[in-house]
Symmetry: C2
Subunit: 471 residues, 2 copies
């Protein structure tokens, strides 16, 4: 089979070196990272890693895999934390990183077209030199690729103003599981049947492989204002964010960190028990000043809230993508995980309280748990939990503690009517909860999967749980 | 079969009276309206009209239709101008208007849940009494139903600020062609696999029937400013709108009417050859003033532009949904049609010129043709053509002139890389162009159709052309 693939793609594009296979046997899934750190690796080695040089190469690999019924796992930057790109069985890993070209910058229509393997941070740096931005800044910006961000329904740190990946991507090219290439567009906006781009936002490689995309870009904003505030409680802060959104403001950044995170990262600015609210307004000339002043007045209405000036936001901007601490903990055998959920405003404060209480009650190995809200909508917001626990130093112990954390958070989120995933996706970690998340829409997703991938070879076990792969 | 349906739904819910069948044999498709007006009707009478009283009734009808392989045509307000709800063959017409309940108003999370047969104008009036709006105001607001607006990917007159129907609807319930009921949500925002709501926005009844939806609502805005300007040419006006969007402004209304429309509706304000630009800014306190002042400065940069004060916008607000003139012309045998396309900024002025020139050259029966741009994006805008022609007074003559108008506009739009439909949908009128509109995505749509509607009974000939209904 390896020889067949080599004759299809060229020998140098099909890798079987043990180090390459090992590196592509996992992504940034903490479960596997901790197991590897304590010498209790349980990842599956891929059969081979292929590096397509073109959309046609991707199509050739998918046609081959469908014909031979061999699983294929698309692999982007490997920044996913849910095991979505970790092969669950002997698979071809399809590494997209060689498809990293910028195809076209269109300054008149404010778009840039790129191949799916383009690292978003590299694209942003290139755009910034020319006075533009995509407005999309996930924490993984330095390694995540455009195709992976599409496949997982990414959200960026400035999403409250700029929207999420489905707002950023106007047009995309994808290879379907049978090897056919489709290009789907909604540009500038269409009413020509269902907007089929959405089959690929969040498909996690289970319905096809994104190979190129047209992204909207923005000129760098004319105005920007930063402001931080100490807020007496999460409940006060969440009510404030709801009111801000209700009034029609859209601060690019609106982050409410709970007292644990406030003390950990902004201890010099806040007092014990206080939350911190980071606000960044930007837009056309005069807009940031107007919005910032309005938000300042709204904060002033909260008894016990205090202005902290812009410095905490500056600190956050500088350190926001630093994940070295995560890797240090994980390397020492500590399970650190980030679990993003979302809920309506009416329940989100209760969900915050209940989730932390349940974690403390049901996970004896828990070291710390905290959360922030950072992506606001008129209807609700996300909660981004950061959880650390000290599991026993063997594979099963890590599994047990890992799943006890997830079971607690998913159960409490669903009990409050929230969604189990705001922007990280489903991967393998959440697949067992997808059926209850989607309810009556779950069989519809399975029908679409069977229609597009009858042999069930596309990323088995990711998104749809493994026992649901069969027609 | 009628008896079977009566035993399923109750006798009074299955109608076969000739007047009812005749009324439901067409929607607002000008082709059929003009044919009917000159006594050359060519519509197909439905087999019967059913009026489901519940989602379960809709499911029962679809199960019945699938089992008997009888076509089903969902029928909302009948405001569609493309024949999308006009049966192409002996069909069951599924009239949704009895499903018109308001299910829940959630003021804390700013949502309202309604059944699909709710007339949007009635909902808006009900919301306005309580201080809210959906921000969605299509011209058909007085008759169009929520389900129909979803099924055709509606845009409202304030879309530049509030977005289109896919931004308005957070969660929907639909009955699939096999009778199964699904509820699909993206609330407040999810990363749980593909956002399957999008299978139903624009499905035009070909993939299922929407039965309920949760819409976002907004408190009535705190600030509003109106301003109109005379603009020397469409090219100047389109460049201005591009710059406004580029800077990050989002005027709720930004309508640029060409000299023909300006003279027709605002003749007292403009001089011959001038365009008129209508702007309406609204938002939180202070926002409308800031945006309106910025836009005023931008207009001042155009040589020959003149401020006209707010009155033309007030006039537009008062008369914007008055379609009596359309019906008067159509009743007299004149073909009047509204044809909405869209394109990138870089080509839209050329498209405007070329489209009018081609209509004049290729449609000898043309009386008048004009256009306005009214839904702006950072990447481009729509062009809404209004065309009148005097066909011969017989069925074939009307057909010939009708299709010559459409062929001209669709051909020129596609030659400029535009989309053939901004917000009216495809219906039957545009179905022959859907394959070239979607390109490589067309076979994907057909696969989805076959997966969900194997017998091909859902609204045959609408969206997908008739010869594409078979598996």
């Amino acid at each position: 089979m390896i020889e067949d693939l080599r004759s299809l793609l060229g020998g140098e594009r099909v890798l079987t070196e043990p180090a390459v296979l090992a590196a592509r046997s996992r992504d940034s899934w903490p479960l596997r990272l901790v197991q590897a750190a304590i010498g209790a690796e349980s990842a599956h080695l891929p059969l081979c890693v292929v590096r397509p040089a073109s959309t046609e190469d991707v199509a050739a690999v998918l046609r081959f895999a469908a014909a031979k019924a061999v699983p294929v796992v698309p692999y982007g930057g490997g920044s996913g934390v849910l095991g979505g790109a970790a092969p669950s069985t002997a698979s071809i890993v399809l590494e997209l990183g060689s498809l990293d070209g910028i195809l076209e910058l269109d300054e008149q229509n404010l778009t840039v077209r790129v191949q799916a393997g383009m690292v978003l941070g590299s694209l942003e740096a290139w755009l910034k030199e020319r006075g533009y931005t995509t407005g999309h800044y996930p924490q993984s910006i330095g390694i995540a690729q455009v195709g992976g961000l599409i496949a997982t329904r990414s959200a960026g740190q400035f999403s409250t103003r700029y929207g999420n990946i489905e707002d950023v991507v106007l047009d995309l090219e994808a290879v379907l599981p049978d090897g056919s290439v489709v290009r789907v567009s909604n540009e500038p906006r269409r009413s020509s049947g269902p907007d089929l781009r959405h089959l690929f936002f969040g498909c996690e490689g289970a319905l096809g492989v994104v190979t190129a995309a047209t992204l909207r870009i923005f000129p760098l904003p004319a105005s920007r204002r930063l402001a931080a505030y100490a807020i007496p409680s999460m409940r006060h802060g969440l009510a404030l964010l709801r009111d801000v959104m209700r009034d029609g403001w859209r601060p690019a950044v609106a982050r409410l960190h709970d007292p644990i995170e406030a003390a950990r990262s902004y201890g010099a600015a806040v007092q014990a028990g206080e939350c911190i609210l980071l606000l960044l307004s930007e837009g056309p000339a005069g807009y940031a000043e107007l919005e910032s002043a309005a938000l300042s007045r709204q904060v002033a209405g909260i008894e016990g809230a205090r202005p902290l000036g812009p410095d905490p936001v500056v600190t956050w901007l500088e350190h926001r993508n630093d994940v070295r601490e995560f890797y240090r903990y994980v390397a020492s055998g500590v399970l650190v995980d980030t679990i993003d959920v979302a809920a309506r405003w009416s329940v989100v404060a209760d969900l915050y309280d209940a989730a932390l209480a349940d974690l403390r009650a049901s996970v004896p190995e828990l070291m710390i748990a905290s959360a922030h809200a950072s992506h606001c909508y008129a209807q609700g917001t996300n909660l981004y939990f950061i959880v650390a626990a000290q599991p026993p130093r063997h594979a099963e112990g890590v599994e047990r503690v890992y799943w006890s954390i997830w079971t607690s958070l998913m159960r409490v989120t669903q009990a409050h009517g929230g969604t189990i995933s705001h922007h990280h996706g489903i991967g393998k970690a959440r697949a067992r909860w997808l059926s209850s998340e989607l309810g009556s829409a779950y069989p519809l997703l399975r029908r679409i999967k069977r229609a597009l991938d009858p042999p069930g070879v596309m990323n088995p076990g990711t998104l749809l749980p493994e026992d649901d792969q069969q027609p």
